[in-house]
Amino acid sequence: MYVAVKGGEAAIANAHRLLADRRRGDRVIPAIGIDQIESQLSLAVDRVMAEASLYDPSLAALAIKQSRGDMIEAIFLLRAYRTTLPRFGYSEPVDTAAMRIERRVSATYKDLPGGQLLGPTFDYTHRLLDPALQTDEAVETPLTRTPSPENTSRVTDILNGEGLIEPDSSMDADHQPGDITRTPLDFPMTRDTRLQALARGDEGFLLALAYSTQRGYARTHPFAGEIRIGMVEVEMDLPELGFSVPLGEVRLTECQSVNQFKGSATQPPQFTRGYGLVFGQSERKAMAMSLVDRALRAEEFGEDIVAPAQDEEFVIAHSDNVQATGFVEHLKLPHYVDFQAELDLVRRMRAEQGLAHANTQSEQKEAAE
């Protein structure tokens, strides 16, 4: 006997209770602290802040704990919080030349003013599991050099001095920077909004697209001109004061790729650039972003658009993992009304075909007789 499926409310409450239990895990083991996540899983925290577009390490750590380590779920939690925050203004552009540098590498020059600085990197570690980490062994204090008070000039500025690379792009004087969280996307996009979308885009998706450009799908011949990671000051202009005041510091990863030339009858050949800028320490994402940014500039440079990474609508419309996961996972919601409509049609078409088949057979039989 059919029993109406009631009790959705109780089922939901019980499911969430079970989820809380699984999140906590074995009660004998101490609960993980937000401060532990923030300081010991800091790259996870950085990724959540970057893709949620909200710089708040402790809230990001809370989101990671709440999501049981599911990164996209954590990003979603932080985004849904961010959207409720009032917008009281926009900061001044940050000056990455004035960055307090923790890491800076250039693949285009052996040495350059400011030097190469490896910083806290996995590069050149041998990927051997370290049994020592099973226990809380003492860790040596790091050796650091005294930071130079001088600004570290960017590699692109060095190249630009010779006119070998296109200068920093500029917007019209009256151009208001876009805000993709406050205005609906409109294709084709301007580069500022496109870079915003890429900065919050899914790391895995951008990584795969960037990789595809290296394997021949829209090859752009990139060099890692420079990657720098460090702290920059965020300033905001207060109209009442008439000058800008510092709000605090954020850690950023910036990547400038140097790509193959472009010239014209009037302009001598120059290197072109791709740009990546991401919250926190996130080199993979910043590099991927710079490659994809360059690929997406195809139209600007009059290049043939032949590959997915060059296709702005394709890339930007599908780079947001919160949107993507929601829509892919919504398939688990009930669809039985639609499915019923399809069942009805398939049955009808099969019945008609069966009938037609039976008719032909009887016709053939008659003809044979």
Partner: protein
């Protein structure tokens, strides 16, 4: 983090509501036209009704009575979840009775009972663009709408007939609004399309992920696309509802066992219960009071 506990009435801040209301007003002024709006991240996933929830949040007042259905039923999990959300953030009265509701948020169905003046039906829409599966690019489809260039859609429907003998679209069946815009009715079965035509209720469509709102003001002409020799028809069921005996309503197929046992019951649970309360009974139905015991 102390501010986390307090939210504005119906969750969205007033500036956001104003932005959404403007989009709604524009949508009402141009029936069937998709108005872009700055959709917000909501505390439920994209694809789970964020567009409908934002529209409802923007029009909801403290005296409204809200009904939420999914697949025609008030008790499917996502409908329960959205209803609970609005009870929590707006503390409004909720109901399962179609005639008592001032706002009905729906996914995939239009209630069987005729909606009346003053009611608002809010649809959750996954893909607002009826031409999307024919042309994936927004830049192109926008142009096609601007020029009323709908030939591609007719070719698609024609090819269905040529291949299958039928128009093989059974839900999200495209309609033309006031002779101008081709519109996606959201993935409701085509059975419900005629209910949109000249409806007394205001119909609002919200697509959160795709950031579009569109509308059908009351008494709008809504025509399902078809051909003279292949007129639009709706699904019909061979048997009435097994619980309430209703005919001419949309039925869900319920699998009873693994030996091919099936029964067909009303998809609109409120309609079914109402009929049983009035004493109508299908061949497998039990009077409502007994069932509750």
């Amino acid at each position: 983090m102390s501010g986390l506990a307090t939210y504005n009435f119906a969750y969205l801040d007033e500036q956001t509501k104003r932005m959404i209301r403007r989009a709604i007003l524009k949508a009402i002024a141009i029936p069937g036209y998709q108005v872009p709006f700055a959709s917000r991240e909501m505390p439920m996933p994209y694809g789970w009704g964020t567009g409908g929830v934002q529209v409802t949040a923007a029009i909801l007042g403290p005296t409204d009575v809200l009904k939420v259905i999914d697949q025609g039923a008030d008790d499917t999990t996502n409908a329960v979840s959205i209803r609970a959300f609005f009870q929590k953030v707006a503390n409004v009265e909720v109901t399962t009775r179609t005639k008592d509701a001032t706002i009905i948020q729906t996914r995939h169905r239009i209630p069987e009972e005729k909606l009346t003046e003053g009611q608002v039906l809010v649809y959750q829409v996954p893909i607002p663009e009826p031409l999307r599966f024919l042309e994936p690019r927004e830049t192109e489809t926008r142009k096609m709408h601007a020029l009323s260039e709908y030939g591609l859609m007719h070719v698609k429907l024609y090819e269905d007939i040529a291949r299958n003998g039928h128009i093989a679209t059974t839900y999200a069946y495209p309609v033309k609004v006031e002779g101008r815009y081709v519109m996606d009715p959201s993935p409701t079965p085509k059975f419900d399309n005629p209910k949109m035509h000249m409806s007394e209720a205001l119909q609002l469509f919200g697509a959160g992920r795709e950031k579009r709102i569109y509308a059908l003001p009351p008494f709008t002409d809504v025509v399902s696309l078809d051909f003279d020799d292949h007129p639009f028809t709706v699904q019909s069921f061979e048997k009435p509802c097994a619980l309430c005996g209703a005919e001419g309503v949309y039925l869900d197929e319920v699998v009873l066992d693994d030996r091919g046992g099936r029964m067909f019951v009303c998809s609109d649970t409120d309609y079914c219960e109402d009929r049983r309360a009035q004493g109508f009974l299908g061949d497998q139905g039990v009077p409502l009071k007994e069932a509750a015991e």
